[in-house]
């Protein structure tokens, strides 16, 4: 780099600064950066690519033979709804991680010194991660198709199924922002996220029917939105699901409605909290 000379810069001073282009414009510019990051760091994408595919294969082939679906049907087909749900819950991870990394690299500070719309930084992260969350859903669908999973319902139901998954993704993005704002470092996010989110996705009908679970655990699992999201996906894709009996709690009887309630509740509660935690986390 030593054979360089900086020429005289054209540093005319503008008398009038540029007119604002609005929140959507700024959000998209920041989201595009996030997408570029994803493409340039494929190793950071393992949670959205290799991991879900690995889970599909692992559970389908290793445990598949040992787990019977009450009411009959192929375990592999039962499994898919659960893994879709688990992956969607893990969306929170990615957001929290990218936010914490940006803070560590002082990218957040850089953005804050720019004349951008308030909310554009969070909006950009949310949009990037919403788009990112489609990737594992597509990959897993393909992987599922390869091992014998099929959509047996109508197209409308299937679309509704995917929409429900994306809706839950969107809700988990705010949980991720909350997590990434409260916990300052990328390392902390990874640790805490694992401890909080991982059990949540296992104490549910993700991989095994809740009916075989003991006492209290079963109650937790039955009211766990990951259970109802898994069940809702199974129903909407026309896959085998544990037959509902009249003694089942309301959540199990109405998994779609119960999941939607959770989506709305998470957004209504955690979005404002997340925004506040984020603003508080900015080293003023």
């Amino acid at each position: 780099m030593t054979d360089t000379t900086i020429s005289r810069p054209t540093a005319t001073v503008r008398t009038e600064p540029y007119r604002s282009r609005g929140l959507l414009h700024d959000t998209w510019v920041i989201a595009r950066r996030g997408l570029t990051h994803l493409v340039r760091q494929p190793e950071q994408l393992t949670d959205a690519t290799i991991q879900p595919v690995m889970f599909v294969l692992l559970f389908a082939y290793v445990f598949g033979g040992a787990i019977a679906v009450p009411g009959g049907g192929e375990y592999r087909e039962f499994l898919m709804g659960g893994i879709f749900a688990q992956t969607v819950v893990f969306t929170a991870f990615g957001v929290a991680l990218s936010l914490a990394t940006d803070r560590k690299n002082q990218a957040i500070d850089r953005f804050r010194s720019l004349p951008i719309a308030r909310g554009a930084v969070l909006g950009g992260h949310a949009l990037t991660n919403l788009l990112k969350s489609m990737l594992p859903i597509v990959l897993m669908s393909l992987c599922g198709l390869a091992i014998g999973w099929r959509v047996h319902s109508s197209i409308a139901d299937a679309i509704l199924g995917y929409a429900l998954l994306l809706g839950f993704s969107f809700a988990m993005i705010w949980v991720g922002i909350l997590l990434g704002s409260v916990i300052a470092t990328p390392e902390g996010v990874t640790g805490t996220g694992f401890v909080v989110l991982f059990p949540l996705t296992f104490m549910a009908s993700t991989f095994v029917p809740t009916r075989t679970m003991p006492g209290l655990l079963r109650v937790v699992a039955e009211w766990n939105p990951v259970t109802t999201l898994s069940d809702a996906a199974r129903i909407l894709f026309g896959n085998p699901n544990t037959p509902v009996v009249p003694e089942d709690p309301w959540s199990i009887q109405h998994p779609i409605a119960y999941s939607v309630i959770w989506i709305v509740a998470i957004i209504v509660i955690s979005a404002p909290l997340a925004v506040r935690a984020y603003e508080k986390s900015l080293a003023k």
Binding site: P17, Y18, R32
Partner: protein
């Protein structure tokens, strides 16, 4: 606030817990001029820059930048400033060009304009060859150049440069100094921080010396030097045997004690009347028949000034004093 000032700060106080990073400082940057904040590690330089660039709020005091109050109109301030933070904050995963285009768009330019502006700056900062490589692979000097280019994207009227040449080799530093000089020629006002006395002396119209969050001296380089010690008359004699005679003569002329530096054949005495003292010294030495090799009026170096003002060498870091900065 009058347009006369690009930056106008009064009574800025900033505390971090029990630690007072800024203890009430007043300073300003006249429009179109360069002010340097000079201070050792932990003096409060970055803290001041962060307050003025809206990244942090002062606990007390007021500041306007480009005519807008940083507390009440941060957005208006952001539209008019460029900031090169102490740690390069260009995005390592993006290419140099992508960085500049993104910043242009975030400065609210159209995409087309942002692209052409980026191309222009890449050429000006000799980054054409590296333009489409990821910044992660840039050298420190290239990164710093990109950082500086990034601050200029939207033609800001006030530029904040937090230690812009730290970590650069002398050549790159010289180049950057050249760029800054050109910017100022074109009407950009600059507030820069530095630990280098030479840099402040070379670039700044006004120097603010801070230490432990307080301003301990201010003025242009000459004023600072004069403030302590003042000018000295410095005589180098041809014949070492005449050193004593020269000292006696100089003492008579200046009415003060003249010091002999035998190693350099020099005699030094305070020059209360500046050039007048020199003229009288020359006449007296001539009359006494003392051959003189060199006769000059000297100011203390800025390093000596700093030592005098802060009670510690300018590079306290090297002297083993723990660094307080972030």
């Amino acid at each position: 606030m009058p347009d006369e000032y690009a930056v106008y700060a009064r009574g800025l106080v900033r505390r971090y817990g029990a630690k007072t990073a800024l203890a009430g400082v007043d300073f300003e940057v006249k429009t179109g001029s360069v002010t340097a904040i000079l201070g050792p590690n932990g003096a409060g330089k970055t803290t001041a820059v962060r307050i003025l660039t809206t990244l942090s709020e002062a606990d007390e005091g007021e500041a306007t930048v480009a005519g807008f109050n940083v507390r009440t109109h941060p957005h208006e301030v952001r539209r008019r400033i460029g900031l090169a933070a102490q740690d390069a904050t260009v995005d390592p995963l993006l290419t140099g060009r992508e960085n500049l285009v993104m910043l242009g768009e975030l400065y609210q330019m159209g995409r087309g304009e942002a692209k052409s502006r980026a191309a222009e700056l890449l050429t000006e900062f000799s980054l054409d060859d590296a333009a489409d490589r990821k910044v992660a692979g840039y050298s420190g000097g290239m990164r710093r150049r990109l950082d500086l280019a990034a601050t200029l994207v939207a033609h800001p009227s006030v530029l904040f440069l937090d230690e812009p040449t730290t970590g650069l080799d002398p050549r790159a530093r010289n180049e950057l100094w050249g760029v800054l000089a050109t910017l100022v020629e074109r009407g950009t006002s600059v507030l820069l921080t530095t630990q280098y006395l030479e840099e402040a002396e070379r670039l700044a119209d006004e120097i603010i010396v801070i230490d432990h969050g307080r301003i301990i001296a201010r003025g242009d380089a000459r004023q600072l030097k004069r403030e302590i010690g003042g000018d000295h008359v410095h005589v180098v004699v041809v014949d070492p045997a005449r050193l004593n005679d020269a000292a006696v003569t100089l003492s008579e002329v200046t009415g003060a004690h003249a010091v002999i530096e035998a190693a350099t054949r020099a005699v030094i005495a305070p020059a209360a009347d500046g050039v007048q003292t020199i003229v009288r010294a020359a006449q007296a030495l001539g009359a006494a028949g003392i051959a003189v090799e060199d006769l000059s009026l000297r100011q203390p170096t800025l390093d000596e000034v700093f030592l005098e003002l802060t009670g510690q060498p300018a590079n306290a870091d090297d002297a083993g004093v723990p660094a307080g900065g972030r």
